[in-house]
Symmetry: C2
Subunit: 418 residues, 2 copies
């Protein structure tokens, strides 16, 4: 069978499964999640055997220790996958929620009701734990999902898919509701992106290269972010200790993720007092500062920032620093170099906090809090499947609700249009 017909068949059966998923109840979905959790524990030795194949091939290919670490499924990671399933089980099912209902002058009763999106294509890189996470969120929100993981994780993903299928079928749910594409051929991705008659949305997760490839080749709407170039703006009315705390946390707590701060903007009126102190804290945390000229006048050991540093997503212990003359200059900088992901202001001034919240066009805008809070869990959405920085559908972190849409339902008594 050609890759093209294999992918068409997978997408067709996913669409068929989605039709059945449309009306199943929360109880049945949770029962399947519970079965999957149980089977993951029962079959953990099998999982680890398949995962060792992937690890051996990856070592041969010379993958970095960090990559090998992400690929590993051991007792601990399996337990954390099971815990993730338990958390999804506890989340409210968004499907069926009536988000509004009103009556028209002709007595038609019009409402909007939450329904699954249908079929989701999820394209990601090498962490096999993401396979179960994504499957559980899609299932709980009533969607069928087609998973295309990284080639390094193919054996791990296939055994996980088999376990998920058993868990579904044990509960009389369609086994095709969750499918892993059983090939590492990149053509499979391209073919999936062409199935715009069967797949409702594509969610890619991974590096900027993967996301760009998916966006440029897809005829299906894509929910994604390319990168997170997050800013903290330290206002002239900032509390110095609060500002240091938040800036350090935003940069250092987990520098390799999209919601870590990449550029710090500092108002000129506070720079003289703030910069030496924050520089000391960053030095202690081994963060390299790349500063504008004014920054370097205050912090002589800062590396001179170049034009490439302002739009950069370092994902590392590196921070671009710019001193600005006004909040308006900070806005313009964020507008020009930002990624509409996450920005925070540190200030004690009420009106300036309000202005920042209103003016900054990012998926999450914070006052006096770390950029690291742009995360579905942290914001109270439950687990998240990703963060979207395009304005369509769901701007920001996407939880279960964001995996649904609404349709209109209309109750009539024979009404016709004049």
């Amino acid at each position: 069978m050609s890759i093209k017909s294999m992918i068409r068949e997978i997408a067709l059966s996913a669409k068929e499964a989605s039709r059945l998923l449309r009306t199943i109840k929360r109880k049945e979905k949770d029962a399947a999640l519970e079965s999957i959790a149980r089977k993951l524990v029962e079959r953990k030795d099998e999982i680890m055997i398949q995962n060792k194949k992937d690890l051996a091939a990856a070592k041969e290919k010379g993958l970095s220790p960090a990559m090998l670490d992400r690929l590993t499924l051991d007792e601990k990671t399996i337990n954390s996958i099971v815990q993730g399933l338990n958390e999804v089980m506890l989340l409210t099912d968004p499907v069926g929620e009536v988000t509004g209902m009103w009556e028209r002058p002709n007595n038609l009763q019009v409402g909007k009701i939450r329904i699954p999106l249908g079929v989701i294509g999820f394209i990601y890189e090498s962490r096999p734990n993401v396979t179960v996470d994504a499957a559980s969120l899609c299932l709980k929100s009533g969607n069928a999902v087609i998973l295309k993981g990284g080639s390094e994780a193919i054996n791990s993903n296939l055994i996980l898919a088999d376990i998920i299928k058993e868990g579904l079928e044990e509960n009389n749910l369609p086994g095709k509701a969750v499918q892993v594409i059983p090939t590492t051929d990149r053509q499979a991705t391209t073919e999936l992106l062409a199935c715009d008659d069967l797949v409702d949305v594509i969610i890619p997760r991974g590096g900027e290269g993967l996301i760009r490839f998916v966006t440029e080749n897809s005829r299906i709407p894509v929910l994604k972010h390319y990168k997170g170039v997050c800013h903290a703006y330290v206002d002239k009315y900032a509390d110095i200790d609060t500002a240091i705390n938040i800036c350090i946390n935003s940069k250092v707590q987990r520098p390799g993720v999209c919601n870590a701060m990449e550029t710090m903007l500092v108002h000129k009126d506070i720079a003289e007092e703030f910069m030496p102190e924050v520089a000391k804290a960053f030095r202690k945390a081994k963060v390299e500062l790349r500063g504008c000229e004014k920054t370097r006048a205050l912090i002589p050991d800062a590396v001179p920032a170049t034009e490439e540093d302002w739009p950069a997503e370092f994902l590392d212990l590196i921070l671009a620093v710019k001193i600005v003359d006004s909040m308006e200059e900070a806005f313009l900088h964020i507008e020009k170099y930002g990624s509409n992901h996450t920005e925070t202001i540190i200030t004690k001034d009420y009106a300036r906090a309000r202005r920042f919240l209103a003016q900054v066009d990012s998926s999450v805008v914070l006052v006096n809090a770390s950029t690291r809070f742009n995360d579905g869990n942290q914001l109270g959405l439950g687990s998240e499947i990703g963060i979207n920085t395009s304005k369509l559908h769901a701007f920001g972190p996407m939880g279960l609700t964001e995996l649904t849409t609404t349709k209109f339902i209309v109750y009539g008594d024979g009404q016709v249009r004049d």
Copy 2:
């Protein structure tokens, strides 16, 4: 200047304008709409002079009388455009609505607030009244808009754009908030569809050919419907008179639009009684019936339906008719041939009405009401900019709210992540 640089310049200035629009108040937007309405009346002679140029060229090209009618801007159409502006003025501004707010265990207060999408590209065919309609909805929802109308209406569109610009600037709003692309070259459309760094969403309105062209060439998310193949399902428990009323209205009241019924599905248990009566009514309304074999056994003068009739959008006084053995068969037919646009059931049975509402995957699903109600105005959204049958962002008619998105705002007091 090349078309490419012209379009980039338009898109860049639209993005700049959208930054200013982001924080303007309802009062200012309504004042601009009022100025535009006043200027349309003041300058109606100029408008009609420009429109006559378009009409003369269109006549020379041999456009049909129906097309010429759509293109015409006379005293009456200008008045109706002004009335449309007055209606948009009365609508609530969706921007700034807080759609939810909650507190996290760490005391972070997290909310979602409605914001404009940013820059909208609106691509449409020859009605120049749509230029003002679309501009007013985009402006009221705080978006900048780039309008690419049909080439036949270029002179009319340019004078309307000039009037809108004056109305904006008179109220200190950016004139670039509404721009008409001043060329009829199709390359302009392709270049606009490539501006994915500046334009947030594309909304095309017109025939299926235009929509497919836009979707296939766009890197920007597209909200659209290809066609409306709407079904009425007459259940075995239908009230016959209600069913006839609704089916006639759905087909005949305005056959050339996307929410008109194209296929009628009839349960076999009611067919013998219902079919002759409804056929009589359709005959009186000059509707051609194209029936399945079972239909033709009851209505011998019905044309035999072919496989091409089931997915057809006739937009005319033609109706495909199929007798089904069960509601499940109706579901499968709609699933296979429908367009996720509008479906209605006529029944007196409570449980079957509930099943239909739950199972049918269309943007508007009705019980005992005409398909013609799938319309922003009719459903109570106010004016609409179009109907979207993709599941993303807004499934169904799109009013002002659907021209916005939400961002997260977070009020903190120094919180950082553990």
